[in-house]
Amino acid sequence: MNILLACNAGMSTSLLVQKMRKEAASQGVEATIEAKPLNKALEAIGDFDILMLGPQISYAKKDAESFAGDKPVIVIPMADYGRMNAKGIIAEATKALANK
């Protein structure tokens, strides 16, 4: 599972990435998780299975989808993002990938 996170400058998502990697490791899930600023993320989407946007750039969802092709693009819910709820966000990604 390759998850790409994007936010405005790639700073706050990088915080989340650390927690998600730890969570994935503790669940024994093999996952590559990275965070990038939005414009870099749009270029790199090809190497990932799913793009997750920070809620602060929710407006970019439609545009991001035009780059992502058939890969799912989801906006992380505000509460999960604020509490850095890595478990919930990984679950969300897994669900989106399963529904694809």
Partner: protein, 474 residues
């Protein structure tokens, strides 16, 4: 009730318009491009700081001048060439945002079009000598004359001294550097737009037949639109030259200067923009969606101007007191809304366990001005009691810091510090080492804490009530 839905409708409309701004391709490209070149400006800022503030602490005279060459070299390649670089980067970012495959060709077009619009004869500052060569005898030695010796010979009126000379075959840093940035934005975006439009026209595609390798055809398919685009820009340059002017001068004086003036006609323009921007963050959308487009480009140009001025050892003019650093270092401490103060309040005065947990999670990122955990976790979003200070405090701090700069209490900002620089250090860096600015930043945090406190209490009471209601319902 009707009142509330009207308010809600307004907020929805506001968020929608902001999202449209955030998605507008030229504006988005501008933000992306500035974000890409930002490391150069940061490097320039650090070099200027080291060269102008640190070196003089332990060096003087000739050894100081020799050491400062290092700083000037960095300045030359960053600040003094910023516009050319930006023109190319804009081309690239625009191509990527447009899903245009050949992004690198847009870099070429952007830079080339920008340079095409530069004046071919420039007024250069006089150095110390002029040279003469022998037109007939190429082997004859070059003669040199001290510039000083001309002043008398030219019979200039009293009070005059030679200041500049027309030269060709040279680029002026006033065009390639900070002063040319606005021109680079307009020309870079325009050139990439025209180029991509032309590249899309089937009629301009060369058909070389089956046997020709596709790469060869591709190279031709880029060439014709490129030729047309650049010729068009050259034509405009030629026409403007006929009127004795050039596009860069027109843009710098006609657009950039007035916009810089608006930003510096008191703190009002900046306050209005950041009020809207921080309000937007309260709705969950990043404030840079608005500020990054309406304020940051101009404010960044102002601080780049200041860095160049400071690097040259000149005083900062009053019409450059408002700039990016006033906002980043002094009005967004701990991130948008100065939430660093709210976190300190929470540690000291809060009884709410949830808030304390969020504060614990947020304090370290907050030290580096990253505060999404506070905004979404505390939360600030859609939390009316906290939205008020979140929007109000940055406005007050912008006005106060600008006022203190104008009054000469703190030094004007001269260095673009990375926006992730922690408080106190960021004030020192931004003002070129003024300790009073660092003290002011501490006062700012204390003031923001005082303002946040009652709102935090109200917010906590509301949360408490909500919990009780839920408990009763269950």
């Amino acid at each position: 009730m009707a009142e509330e839905s009207k308010g809600q409708a307004f907020l929805d409309k506001f968020a929608e318009v902001s999202a449209r701004i955030g998605n507008q391709i030229h504006l988005r490209t501008l933000r992306d491009a500035f974000a890409t070149v930002m490391p150069l400006y940061i490097l320039a800022g650090i070099a200027v700081f080291v060269s102008q503030v640190l070196f003089p602490l332990f060096l003087s005279g000739d050894s100081l001048s020799a050491a400062q060459v290092w700083g000037s070299a960095v300045t030359l390649g960053t600040l003094n060439f910023a516009a050319v670089i930006l023109a190319g980067v804009l081309g690239y970012c625009f191509a990527v945002n447009k899903h245009f495959e050949n992004a690198i060709s847009c870099v070429v077009v952007g830079i080339s079009a920008f340079v095409i619009m530069m004046p071919q004869t420039i007024v250069a500052t006089l150095g110390s000598a002029v040279y003469a060569t022998n037109a007939a005898d190429k082997t004859a030695a070059t003669l040199s004359y001290a510039v000083d010796s001309f002043s008398g010979a030219l019979g200039m009126a009293d009070g005059y001294a030679l200041s500049g000379v027309d030269v060709t075959g040279a680029f002026a840093t006033s065009n390639t550097g900070a002063n040319g940035l606005f021109g680079a934005i307009i020309i870079g975006l325009l050139a990439a737009t025209v180029f991509i439009k032309l590249s899309g026209l089937e009629k301009l595609k060369v058909n070389l037949g089956e046997g020709v390798p596709p790469a060869v055809a591709d190279s031709f398919n880029v060439m014709i639109p490129m030729l047309l685009t650049l010729s068009l820009f050259a034509l405009v340059a030629a026409v403007l030259a006929g009127f004795g002017t050039d596009l860069l001068t027109l843009i710098a004086t006609g657009i950039a200067a007035p916009l810089k003036g608006i930003m510096n006609a008191g703190p009002w323009a900046v306050i209005v923009i950041y009020t809207l921007a921080n309000l937007l963050f309260c709705l969950g959308i990043h404030q840079s969606t608005i500020s990054g487009v309406l304020a940051e480009p101009i404010l960044t140009m102002l601080i780049i101007d200041n860095m160049a001025t400071f690097a040259a050892g000149q005083p900062i003019p009053a019409d450059h007191y408002m700039n990016m650093q006033i906002v980043n270092s002094f009005a967004l401490i701990g991130g948008s809304g100065c939430t660093f103060a709210l976190l300190l309040d929470t540690f000291l005065f809060s009884r709410n366990k949830g808030s304390k947990e969020v504060a614990k999670l947020s304090i370290l990122p907050g030290l580096f001005n990253i505060n999404e955990p506070v905004i979404y976790g505390y939360p600030i979003v859609f939390n009316l009691p906290l939205m008020i200070p979140f929007v109000l405090i940055p406005d007050l701090l912008i006005a106060a810091t600008y006022g203190l700069t104008c009054a000469g209490v703190i030094a004007p900002c001269v260095v673009q510090a990375p926006w992730t620089t922690p408080p106190v250090i960021s004030a020192l860096l931004a003002t070129g080492g003024d300790w009073r600015a660092a003290v002011w930043q501490v006062i700012e945090i204390a003031g923001a804490m005082a303002i946040y406190l009652p709102f935090m209490k109200v917010s906590e009471r509301a949360v408490q009530k909500q919990l009780e209601l839920e408990a009763n319902a269950a």
